[in-house]
C-alpha cells in the first residue's frame, strides 16, 4: 500500500503548490501508516526532485518523455494509473488546479476510484474513508464518504500548510510505454504572460470592484499591488465592463482563490464574489458603504472612498518599507 501524489512542475521547477501536495500526502500516509510516492512528469533535474523529500516523499518516480511534453489528459491518466497499480496506491493526491481537473476524473474511471474534489483538510475518518470538501461554492462544506478501494483526492490550492518532514528520498527514473493512439492533443500555439504574479499562486491579492468607478482609476490599485508583491484581481462587473481583463475576474464563475491576504477595494461583496474569495485567510475591505456585505466577510475594514483611501494606504506602505 502507498499514497501516490502527482507533483506538477513549471519549466522544470516545483512551486509551493507541489510542496503543499506532498505535505498533504505525507499527512494521509501517516494516518494510513504507509509511505509516499511522488510522480513527476517532465524535465526536472535531480536537485529539484529531491526537494520533494523535504516534505516527506519517500520515493520519487521521474518520467521524462518527449511524448508527454504536452498535457494530454488521456496519456497522462494512462501513465499515472499504471504507476498507481504498480505502487499499490490506496490514495492518489492531485491538485485541484486546471491540470488536476483534467487528469483526476479520467484516472477515476481507469481505477474505478471515487473522487473527493477540492479537499482542504486531512481525511476526517478512515473507516469509512471520509473527506471534508467545499460545496455550494464555499457556502457549505460536505463530509464525503468514498466507498471505492482506491480513493482520489484533489487538494484545494493554498488550503494546506507546508510541513517539513525531511526523509531521504530515492529517485527512480522511469520510461513508461505510452500508447501512441492516446496522444491526441496537438498544440497549435501557446500564449504565456511572463513576469507576472499569477493570481492563483499569489500570497497577496489586491482586487477592485465597481467602486473604482472607471477603467482610468486603476493606477493606484496596481501601485499598491506592486508595493505589496501582490497580484491584481477584479469583480465580475469590472471585467464585464472591460475595465480589466477577464482572467482577473475572481468569483463563482471566475477564478477561485485562497491567498493569505485579499484586499477588496470598492467591492460590495455579492454572494457570487464571496464564493471565489471566501477561503482567503484574511480579507481587508475598503468600501464607502458601511452596510456592504463585504464587511461581514472581512476581518479588517476601512469605510471610505477607494480613490481617497488608496493614496493614503500607498504612502503608509512606502513608509513601513523604508
Amino acid at each position: 500500500m502507498s499514497v501516490l501524489v502527482y507533483t506538477e512542475n513549471w519549466d522544470g521547477k516545483f512551486k509551493k503548490l507541489s510542496f503543499e501536495l506532498v505535505s498533504y500526502a505525507t499527512g494521509v500516509a501517516k494516518m494510513l501508516n504507509t509511505t509516499v510516492t511522488a510522480v513527476s512528469i517532465g524535465k526536472v533535474d535531480e536537485n529539484e526532485l529531491i526537494r520533494l523529500g523535504n516534505y516527506g516523499a519517500n520515493k520519487i518516480i521521474n518520467i521524462n518523455s518527449d511524448k508527454l511534453a504536452v498535457l494530454d489528459s488521456q496519456a497522462y491518466s494512462s501513465v499515472i494509473s499504471e504507476i498507481a497499480r504498480k505502487e499499490n496506491a490506496s490514495v492518489i493526491i492531485i491538485s485541484n488546479n486546471n491540470t488536476g481537473k483534467a487528469i483526476a476524473p479520467r484516472l477515476s474511471v481507469r481505477l474505478k476510484a471515487g473522487v473527493g474534489s477540492g479537499v482542504s483538510r486531512l481525511p476526517l475518518n478512515l473507516n469509512p474513508f471520509t473527506v471534508y470538501k467545499r460545496t455550494y461554492s464555499g457556502n457549505a462544506f460536505a463530509h464525503l464518504v468514498i466507498k471505492s478501494d482506491i480513493k482520489i483526492l484533489t487538494l484545494a490550492q493554498n488550503s494546506f500548510d507546508l510541513i517539513e518532514t525531511p526523509v531521504n528520498a530515492t529517485i527512480e527514473n522511469m520510461n513508461p510505454s505510452i500508447d501512441g493512439s492516446l496522444l491526441k492533443t496537438v498544440i497549435k500555439d501557446i500564449q504565456k504572460q511572463s513576469g507576472m504574479i499569477l493570481l492563483t499562486d499569489a500570497d497577496i491579492v489586491v482586487s477592485g470592484g465597481r467602486g473604482m468607478k472607471s477603467a482610468d482609476n486603476w493606477g493606484p490599485l496596481v501601485e499598491l499591488a506592486k508595493l505589496l508583491g501582490a497580484a491584481t484581481a477584479c469583480s465580475r462587473p469590472v471585467s464585464d465592463e472591460g475595465w480589466r481583463p477577464h482572467d482577473e475576474h475572481t468569483g463563482q464563475t471566475g477564478k477561485i482563490i485562497a491567498p493569505n491576504l485579499y484586499i477588496a477595494v470598492g467591492i460590495s461583496g455579492a454572494t457570487q464574489h464571496l464564493a471565489g474569495i471566501s477561503s482567503s485567510k484574511y480579507i481587508v475591505a475598503i468600501n464607502s458603504d458601511k452596510n456592504a456585505p463585504i464587511f461581514e466577510a472581512a476581518q479588517y475594514g476601512i469605510i471610505g472612498d477607494a480613490m481617497k483611501v488608496l493614496p493614503k494606504l500607498i504612502e503608509a506602505v512606502k513608509e513601513i518599507r523604508k
Partner: protein, 249 residues
C-alpha cells in the same frame, strides 16, 4: 456534426443554503432552480456555433440526469434554443453515476462534440466531463475558454497557469468549459419559450450503476470574527495589524 450539452439543475447562485434531516441534505424549500452557470455558457456557445453556417454544427441536444421535477430546467434550455433534449430518469447520486449514465446514452446516439461545464455550482466537483470522456475512451480538453471549427476540426483555447494554449483534438471529444467560452448566457425569447413546449424530450431509463461516493453530512463554513474597523485617515494602523496580528505582510 452534432453537439451534446450536459446540463445540471442547481439552486440559483444567490440562494442561502440551509440543511435538513440532521444536516444530511440540503433544504430545498423555496429554492429557485436554474441551469448550472457554466452549462448555460456551454449551451450559448453551442448555439452560436450552430448559427454559424461555416462551423458544420447542425444540431444541439441537451442531456440531463434527473427526475421529472427538473423538467422546467430542460424546457428552459430548449427555450434558449436547443433542438431537443434527453432526460435520464434518475435521481443523480454522485458524479460517477451521472457520468456513467450520460456515457451510456452517447454510446447509443452518436455525438461529435460533448460539452460540459467545468463544475456544477452545487457539488463543485469538476469531474463529470472527464469521466464521460474516459468511459467512452475519447479525448477531453479541460478549462476550455474558446472553441471554433475550421474544416471540421476544432480549434480550442484552453487556460493554463499564466496563459492560454491553442489546441486541437480529433472528433468526437469532450470539451470541459469554463468562463470566457461565450460572452453572456443567451436569454430565452417569447418565441423560444412557445416553441420549447413542442420540442421533443426523450426519456431514457437509467442503467444500473453503483455510486462511489456519498455525502453523509453538511456543515456551514466556520464563521469569521467580526470586522475590525480602522479609520480611513490612519492606514498605518491597518498595516500594523496586518504585520503583527495577522502576520500576512
Amino acid at each position: 456534426m452534432k453537439i451534446l450539452v450536459c446540463i445540471s439543475n442547481v439552486p440559483d447562485t444567490t440562494t442561502k443554503i440551509k440543511f435538513a434531516e440532521g444536516n444530511t441534505s440540503v433544504d430545498t424549500t423555496g429554492i429557485q432552480w436554474v441551469i448550472n452557470p457554466w452549462d448555460e455558457l456551454s449551451l450559448t456557445r453551442a448555439l452560436e456555433l450552430k448559427d454559424d453556417t461555416t462551423s458544420g454544427i447542425k444540431s444541439v441536444t441537451v442531456i440531463h440526469v434527473g427526475p421529472a421535477a427538473s423538467e422546467p430546467t430542460i424546457r428552459k434550455a430548449l427555450a434558449i434554443g436547443a433542438d431537443d433534449a434527453i432526460r435520464v430518469n434518475a435521481v443523480s447520486s454522485d458524479a460517477w453515476f451521472v457520468a456513467a449514465q450520460i456515457a451510456e446514452v452517447i454510446k447509443k446516439e452518436q455525438f461529435d462534440v460533448i460539452m460540459c461545464g467545468i463544475e456544477s455550482s452545487d457539488y463543485n466537483g469538476s469531474i463529470v466531463g472527464g469521466m464521460i470522456s474516459e468511459f467512452l475512451g475519447i479525448p477531453s480538453v479541460s478549462a476550455v475558454s474558446g472553441i471554433k471549427f475550421e474544416n471540421g476540426q476544432p480549434i480550442i483555447i484552453r487556460e493554463i497557469d499564466g496563459g492560454k494554449e491553442v489546441v486541437s483534438v480529433p472528433v468526437p471529444f469532450v470539451a470541459i468549459v469554463q468562463k470566457g467560452i461565450a460572452k453572456e448566457p443567451r436569454i430565452a425569447a417569447m418565441r423560444g419559450i412557445m416553441m420549447a413546449r413542442s420540442k421533443p424530450v426523450k426519456l431514457v431509463e437509467p442503467v444500473q450503476v453503483d455510486p462511489l461516493t456519498q455525502i453523509v453530512e453538511f456543515e456551514k463554513p466556520t464563521p469569521r470574527a467580526a470586522c475590525k474597523f480602522i479609520d480611513a485617515d490612519s492606514p498605518a494602523l491597518l498595516l500594523d495589524l496586518l504585520q503583527n496580528e495577522a502576520k500576512v505582510i
